[in-house]
Amino acid sequence: MFTQNEPMDGAQALIKTLDQLGIEYIFGYSGGAALPIFDALETVKSKMKFILVRHEQGATHMADGYARATGKPAVVLVTSGPGAGNTLTGIMTAQMDSVPMIILTGQQVTWMLGKDAFQEADIFGITMPVVKHNYLVRNTNDLPRIAREAFHIATTGRPGPVLIDIPKNISQSPFTGDLDAEIDLPGYTIDEAYDIDDADVKAAAALINAAERPVILAGHGVMISRAEPELMEMATRLNAPVTSTLLGKGVFPETHALSLGMLGMHGTAYANKAMVECDLILNVGSRFDDRIIGKAERFGRNAKIVHIDIDASEFNKMIQVDAKICGDAKTAMRALIPHLKPLPSAPWLDHLEGYKRKFPLSYKKQGGLRMQQVIDELFEVTEGKAIITTDVGQHQMWAAQFYKNDEPWKWISSGGAGTMGFGFPAAIGAQCAHPDAVVVAIVGDGGYQMTMCELATAVINKLPVIVLVLNNHYLGMVRQWQELFFDNRESGVDLEGNPDFAKIAEAYGALGLTVKRPADVRKVLERALENRTGPTVINAECIKTENVFPMIPAGAALEDMLIEPPKEKMEKPIGST
């Protein structure tokens, strides 16, 4: 529509640049300070699609879900003050889980900044600790360069959210600069991280080659660098079992014989036992989160620990390591694999097989509907091929346990931040990315209600997202802690008075289904899968007081894992939340 010589304003230059960068989706909510940018969405012809959400937090989780289903960033566009403020949780969620995102916030005019002008909030200052980087734009002509820099920063190295705060006078002033202005980031030299240090590789290889009881711990970093083939090659060459973090689900096929499933607080018993008994932990692309290491002083006591990470500040942060390789997981494993030899791990693998037989993930089939069963059947009917997003709580942990992932980019869950309200909008984002895919949001009745208003967004955009509400009428995970550690004193967890989720769905124009009997689950899931014209909400009425096991109480050592409900009274956990 524009040629280089036609007059345009800053907002138009910005939208043109984002389009050039290949952005596909903008999730947003309008408002005064963002008016020029919203206008540019109409006046600039672009391939980008705009999705009007119902709450700004939803926009961030949609962009997040889109990114976690594709590896590409989407844009969030909101107004200043309250609009920008509503994005905080979603930005923090993306930052914690290394998800690329570009957030554009409208801002008061430059000369009003710092004067408590209407809807002025210092979002540049407020978001500093929860972004990879942010900008407050002070020159209209800087917009294309800054947009390009934001894209580059968000998507390279360890990805993360980048926020651009744009005062209204900046977006609506004439643009007279260079649309193709190049990025200029002297402090961001990402290439260094790809220079694998040869001595580090040799030192790591020496430790690995001496192991007899190895475990590979695979994290989100493997997915981000698309290093699944290298991981498979390494695991099979070494004959080493692989466990993954919550965010790493799918980087190694969970149905593979060498897979131990997920480790950590609610990981499999065999994965956690392997971590305790192994003589080598080879961590690729995980940051040794407190949810997987338990009590740090006792983690990996009998093992040599090798850590591959792209972010040098992760080394020795939680766990003192014996060797490290700084770099992209793919490049690092490529450098490492030629130095590795098959390990004499057969007895170790046999031993772990014994644990798999002795402590399988299981659940009772009698006495009512359990979340585990619903998830298990979902896994069956979708043949493990659906894109699954989750909310946060008991249902999330059971989903992680029972929905086995054989492929990456199909498991989308808020890990580091544990953000309730994430699951449903993330599913909308994932469905935007893959319109033909089966996308199921597995959510609790608590978290779902935090962002349920996005039903309107899903209906209007005819997105066939399936929302599986595992309804226990409780904030189940918190109730579980109260039962185990606080003498079953329930406080602030009872969700009695929940609405009828199927009816609410119908009021929005979605398909609403309810299931109460275990025998009906399959039928209801199949009915939902048939509906491709818009969203389906399934209200699954589940047993109210089931608990998730295995469980490692927060701050306890991995060997203190509870495989089943404890017989004695438990101490209050001393560890992180």
Binding site: G125, M128, K132, H133, L136, P186, G187, A312, S313, N316
Partner: protein
């Protein structure tokens, strides 16, 4: 703060830290984009890990696009090591290094305001001379002296001058430069 007539001295001075605290002292040199917000980003990383910034000097680089900071901090070296890596990760930070006494020179300056009538002025001047200091403001009842040098020297000068009536001291904080041809 000016001394009141009753000679009751209100001082903004705090005591020197005990020797044990000084042991964990570290000097960092940070080269950054000369842009609003950079200082806040760096300060956030220190405060999050409970690390106090003891001194901070920021000035424009010769290339005005960049600024140089010298940050004096005290605390656990292991935590500091991680903070340095996090500072280096900031997009606006070109580099952040820790410097030691042997690889660098570290200097600071102090201004000391003293209550000195004519009677003890000569004595004070002798102390100042010993430390290579200078008198830069003089009235009937007070004087301001300036002393530069490494931290120990400045500390020692203040200790000796404390024998007289110090109204206040203002220290610049440390600036660091790598020794030899090495760039800081």
């Amino acid at each position: 703060m000016p001394a009141s007539n009753s000679r009751e001295i209100i001082t903004t001075d705090t005591k020197l830290p005990p020797q044990a605290d000084i042991l964990g002292l570290h000097t960092l040199s940070v080269y950054v984009n000369n842009q609003p917000g950079v200082l806040a980003r760096i300060a956030l990383l220190f405060s999050r890990r409970g690390y106090n910034i003891d001194s901070l000097v920021v000035s424009r680089g010769r290339n005005e696009r960049f600024s140089r900071m010298t940050i004096g901090v005290s605390g656990d070296p292991k935590i500091l090591d991680q903070i340095i890596k996090q500072v280096n990760k900031l997009v606006d930070v070109i580099h952040c290094h820790e410097h030691t006494e042997s690889d660098s020179v570290v200097k600071e300056m102090v201004l000391v305001k003293l209550l000195t009538g004519a009677a003890r002025r000569t004595e004070v001047l002798q102390v100042i001379e010993h430390f290579g200091g200078k008198t830069i403001d003089l009235t009937e009842s007070s004087m301001i002296v300036m002393i530069t040098g490494d931290t120990e020297k400045v500390d020692a000068a203040i200790r000796l001058l404390a024998a007289y009536e110090i109204i206040e001291t203002v220290r610049t904080g440390k600036v660091v430069m790598a020794r030899g041809e090495e760039a800081t």
